[in-house]
């Protein structure tokens, strides 16, 4: 049973240059009690999707179509008040830089207490006890509740942001690049904390990231986005070890792996399309080594032959052969 189902979601930004189709037909599900990685490169729409679910889209953004069914209820079209009831209590957000969720002029404890009293209806004494509990849960010394955010290191701030997000026992936590700004040792510790708490509390987490090794480390499922669309989705192991979409295959080749030595990293030539004037057909076609005539004219739908592993490619049926070819660096070198 999924906690959240995103269906054919389309989000546009109105800009001086025209309409940018930042998310153009995204479909994926978040099962209850699972960690789902939303992965892709800059501009693929992953953060826009995350912000849409949280109800904090930019002013010039608009949900043009689609549904976001959360616990049986469509979030698209919810008014601000309804969203305010939902936020923190049902859906909480952890931003990339904890400085964005922590106000620099208030003590960290005061900010956690504020969420508890205003959003959660806690009285002050209970809020104080809960704040101590939350700090202990994320591995921070409760004495530091009286500190200001600047007195925290980057890793501690990110832990405080996690404590804040978990304050009212949400069902879903959305974390946007929560460890990108952290050093690798701190990153590992914060990821372990997120994973541990997610299991203990049985919540769902959407982890937005550009890093497929972070996905491999903590996510049960992964959704790969490219140029505003979902191109592949499934269990993490299946998607990373047996990718079905050429973009995922290319991403894997470009990613350094400390366990494999001597492998040449292979870039994907070219760059993503302009989302103001997206090309007809498959958006990855201009960079794809396996492109057919058909790909240039018709956009491939998410192939649902295998409901556990979806891929939006006309050649999904040939995936295992393409995978073999994709492992050769020469496949990706355009003439």
């Amino acid at each position: 049973m999924s906690l959240l189902a995103i269906q054919d979601l389309e989000i546009t930004y109105r800009t001086q240059r025209g309409i940018c189709r930042a998310v153009d037909g995204a479909t994926f599900e978040v099962p209850a009690g699972a960690v789902v990685g939303l992965v892709g490169e800059s501009g693929c729409g992953k953060t826009t999707v995350a912000r849409a679910i949280t109800g904090v889209l930019a002013r010039n953004a608009e949900i043009a179509a689609g549904r976001m069914i959360f616990a049986g209820r469509d979030l698209v079209g919810l008014d601000r008040r309804a969203y305010n009831d939902l936020r923190w209590r049902d859906i909480a957000f952890i931003p990339q830089s904890a400085m964005n969720s922590l106000d620099p002029v208030y003590r960290v404890g005061t900010q956690i207490a504020e969420v508890l009293t205003i959003r959660g209806g806690f009285d002050r004494a209970r809020a104080g006890r809960r704040a101590v509990e939350l700090f202990e849960m994320v591995g921070l010394n409760p004495q530091r509740l009286s500190d200001y955010p600047h007195q925290f290191s980057g890793g501690m701030r990110q832990r405080a942001a996690i404590a804040l997000a978990l304050a009212l026992n949400p069902k879903l936590v959305i974390a946007d690049e929560p460890v990108t700004a952290l050093d690798v040792i701190v990153q590992r510790q914060v990821l372990d904390t997120i994973r541990d708490l997610q299991r203990r509390l049985g919540i769902s987490v959407i982890l937005v990231t550009h890093d497929i090794s972070v996905v491999a480390y903590v996510c049960d499922y992964v959704v790969v986005m490219y140029a505003g669309q979902v191109v592949e989705a499934g269990a993490t192991d299946a998607v990373l070890s047996r990718p079905r979409h050429p973009y995922t295959m290319g991403l894997y080749n470009a990613f350094p792996d400390l366990q494999r030595s001597g492998d040449l990293l292979v870039p994907i030539e070219g760059s993503p399309p302009d989302l103001f004037e997206p090309p007809e057909g498959c958006r990855f076609a201009p960079r794809c080594p396996f492109v057919l005539d058909r790909c240039q004219t018709a956009s491939p739908p998410l192939d649902r032959t295998d409901t556990r592993h979806l891929s939006a490619c006309w050649r999904t049926a040939e995936a295992s052969e393409l995978r073999n070819r994709a492992r050769e660096a020469s496949t990706w070198l355009h003439s």
Partner: protein, 302 residues
């Protein structure tokens, strides 16, 4: 009574390293470990409080005037963020010619030198990009321009500070490959400063691991990655996630977090985070010493 002194922060403390001609060295460490300061010192963009830096036999500390300019021609910096490194109002041609103008290279030579640098980084000929502005190029192209700009003077030595950290993965691989080719084709000595072990491994023959202003380990990159000796390097290597699900989730062999650099622990700076620290570690600072041919580490327990 109120006129307090600023506390002294030893950003880099007793770093001792040698880079041979044509050698590529990675300077690896977490934020605040002193790797960027070390890079800036090597290029004389920063003056050391004490110590010497010899480049081809000459101490560059205190170098002035023509001697400093001559050094600057031979040693170049590649900036981290290609979007900041180029003046948005300069055309690409002007950006690439600027180092040549500053070095007083004869104008007749500019074009050939720029073309040579562009072909080294696999960018199309100058005609195609000369009159463009930075915002008209992609991040990957810009980082190649930044690299080409560091190469137009045909330097012998290059320092690159997190040269690909701003780029997307699919594009980053291309820039890293260019850096490997430049390394092989020009035979220049280079220092790559990074927090990313996988990247350092990809381009550097030798790796130095820094912790709180000191070098704690130094050795051939493959040896450091496969068999790290210093307890800090061991934790660092273990902490790097890999892009497949088959990986260790064991707790890291490290305690707590990086202490305040203004007030580092006595003796070994890593001792309060080290799972195997003994009494001696608090009393005596371990020297960086040879532990095997070509390998050095600063730890009493090795």
């Amino acid at each position: 009574m109120l006129a307090g002194r600023h506390p002294v922060l030893h950003a880099v403390d007793g770093v001792d390293l040698t880079i041979r001609k044509g050698e590529t060295v990675g300077l690896l460490g977490e934020s605040g470990c002193g790797k960027t300061t070390t890079g800036r010192l090597i290029l004389r963009l920063e003056e050391p409080t004490t110590g010497t830096i010899r480049f081809d036999g000459t101490d560059i500390v205190g170098l002035k005037g023509p001697a400093l300019r001559a050094f600057r021609r031979r040693a170049q910096l590649v900036f981290q963020n290609p979007f900041d490194a180029l003046n948005p109002r300069f055309t690409i041609l002007r950006a690439l010619a600027e180092p040549l103008v500053n070095a007083g290279i004869d104008r007749a030579e500019h074009r050939a030198r720029i073309e040579r640098a562009l072909s080294r980084v696999h960018l199309p000929g100058l005609d195609r990009i000369a009159e463009r502005f930075p915002h008209q190029l992609s991040g990957g192209q810009l980082q190649r321009i930044v690299l080409a700009r560091a190469l137009v003077l045909e330097p012998e030595f290059l320092v690159a500070d997190e040269p690909v950290s701003m780029l997307d993965v699919s594009v980053r691989a291309g820039v890293l490959n260019v850096m490997r080719e430049v390394r092989d084709a020009m035979g220049l000595a280079a220092v790559y400063i990074s927090h990313d072990l996988a990247l350092v491994r990809y381009v550097c023959e030798r790796t130095l691991v820094m912790y709180l202003g000191r070098v704690v380990e130094d050795g051939p990159t493959e040896a450091v990655v496969r068999d790290p000796q210093h307890p800090y390097s061991r934790a660092l290597v273990k902490a790097v996630p890999v892009p497949h699900v088959d990986q260790s989730h064991d707790p890291l062999p490290i305690i707590g977090s990086v202490p305040d650099a203004r007030d580092p622990p006595s003796g070994c700076r890593f001792r309060d985070r080290c799972p195997s620290a003994v009494a001696r570690c608090a009393e005596e600072s371990p020297a960086l010493r040879e532990i095997a041919p070509g390998r050095r580490a600063a730890c009493h327990l090795i």
